[in-house]
Symmetry: C2
Subunit: 280 residues, 2 copies
């Protein structure tokens, strides 16, 4: 017998995504949120924070490859990387594929996410045992203020701008990231759905362009996220994700589940209606 997990995507407009599960493997409450793990019938194990789907085994690679490899193939020598959020370990796993990476910090506000994922998602969280990794259980917005000009790449693998991640969608946080990056550093941030969050993305793009000379929006197909995709902001002072793209470095990553050199380019090509909120 299976039961239904329901995610309410939008209270006022009323969209819901439902998925069947056979077993609830975990249900704990951290100081920050409710954390649950379900054994679903069609997506493998599924991690849920406060009733919102974070990760499923079936499609997690789409998201984690695309949030990591675009910046890490563009930066010529990404020795020091910071992941903010990303407590499941999937983004870190992809970061560590790049041999130039000597140090990779994870700053996750909720230690219990890491502990739950080490137990239930070893394919993701085992990345934390790599000798290059340092774990910090702190608030990301505060953490970056203590690390000026330190990172080559910062990746913000956050949840939505409701709850603990709300601060990560503010202008002050993006200014803080700019200061925590080396002069030629790159930031990539989880930036919602181009179908449902045009006004959030438009606001984000607007202040990012004031802070970073190069701002570009791209997306990945992730069927268990609202509207079946998730977008990312690429912010940089120096490197352009299309102009400075070296396909040979991307090819060296080998056979991945989602990312390819061609996808790297195509992901930045947006439907015409995105001009309405991106103002391009």
């Amino acid at each position: 017998m299976s039961q239904w997990f329901e995610e309410q995507l939008d209270v006022s407009l009323g969209r819901i995504f439902k998925v069947a599960y056979s077993d609830k493997l975990e249900s704990v409450r951290s100081p920050f949120q409710k954390i649950e793990v379900f054994q679903t019938l069609s997506f493998g194990k599924m991690l849920v924070h406060d009733d919102v789907i974070m990760v499923t085994e079936k499609d997690e690679a789409h998201y984690h490859e695309m949030i990591a490899h675009v910046a890490l193939t563009i930066h010529p020598n990404p020795e020091k990387v910071l992941v903010i959020g990303g407590g499941d370990g999937g983004t870190m796993r992809e970061v560590l594929r790049h041999r130039q990476v000597k140090t990779a910090h994870l700053c996750e506000i909720d230690e219990m996410v890491v502990r739950v994922c080490q137990k239930h998602f070893p394919n993701l969280a085992s990345s934390f045992t790599d000798r290059r990794v340092g774990l910090f259980f702190e608030d990301g917005a505060t953490f970056i203020l203590a690390h000026p000009h330190e990172y080559d790449v910062i990746i913000v693998d956050s949840s939505d701008p409701i709850g603990p991640a709300e601060v990560l969608f503010r202008r002050e946080f993006y200014q803080g990231m700019a200061d925590a990056l080396k002069p030629d550093g790159i930031a990539v941030t989880q930036s919602e759905s181009l179908h449902y969050h045009g006004s959030i993305i438009g606001k984000l793009a607007s202040f990012c362009r004031e802070i970073f000379p190069i701002y570009r929006y791209y997306y990945a197909l992730v069927p268990t996220y609202p509207s079946g995709l998730i977008g990312f902001s690429f912010c940089s002072r120096q490197y352009d994700p299309l102009v400075d793209f070296d396909e040979r470095r991307a090819e060296r990553l080998g056979h991945l589940r989602y990312y390819t050199p061609a996808i790297h380019r195509a992901a930045f090509t947006l439907p015409a209606f995105c001009r309405d909120f991106l103002g391009e």
Copy 2:
């Protein structure tokens, strides 16, 4: 007060898409299917056949532009076009944007779909009043057998391979389309989701490649379809949708909601895992 419309995407695996509606504007039963129209809270009016979402006002243009404009910008002179299915009129509206089109036939098995859409979706179905249009309420698989070597472009705007459209996913039908096309004709067909229907797509691609020297799969982002996208098969004996693409013809279409010359190219770029079923 609003109510919920539920679409069961997959019985065995258990995925459901729910959307709130304020009003059910139509509910009729044709000889082929149940046809309903809902006033939803977030997607405008929504057309539903046998409990499956066909069209919503909010995102119908994504689908209709992408099923029509790729073939019609690639064919150098698409004078005679056939749309199979497409009773809502959205695909026909996009076909008629091309001035080279002199005759556009619609072969829809279910006349009641056309009548319901003329009443509730004038922005789509008013295309049928264009003097270039001929309407045929017949079975598409039989219709093409009576029209050998007649069309420059055939577009199959069908529902899923369950119910009345099942025959449109068979090899015999694709062979029939090849015979109904002129020697340099192009066929484009609705071809499901790359996330959920890999085995259907793989089978389709396999027999299409035996019939047509050029086969390519592409997709459009449509949030109200399963997994948030829909794919298309591009089948041709002569013209390649990327090699033979003339951006100037695409630009002449003006400002659309989804399709752009860059999207035309990017839509054929698929995530790495699609190789598993497309065998490329």
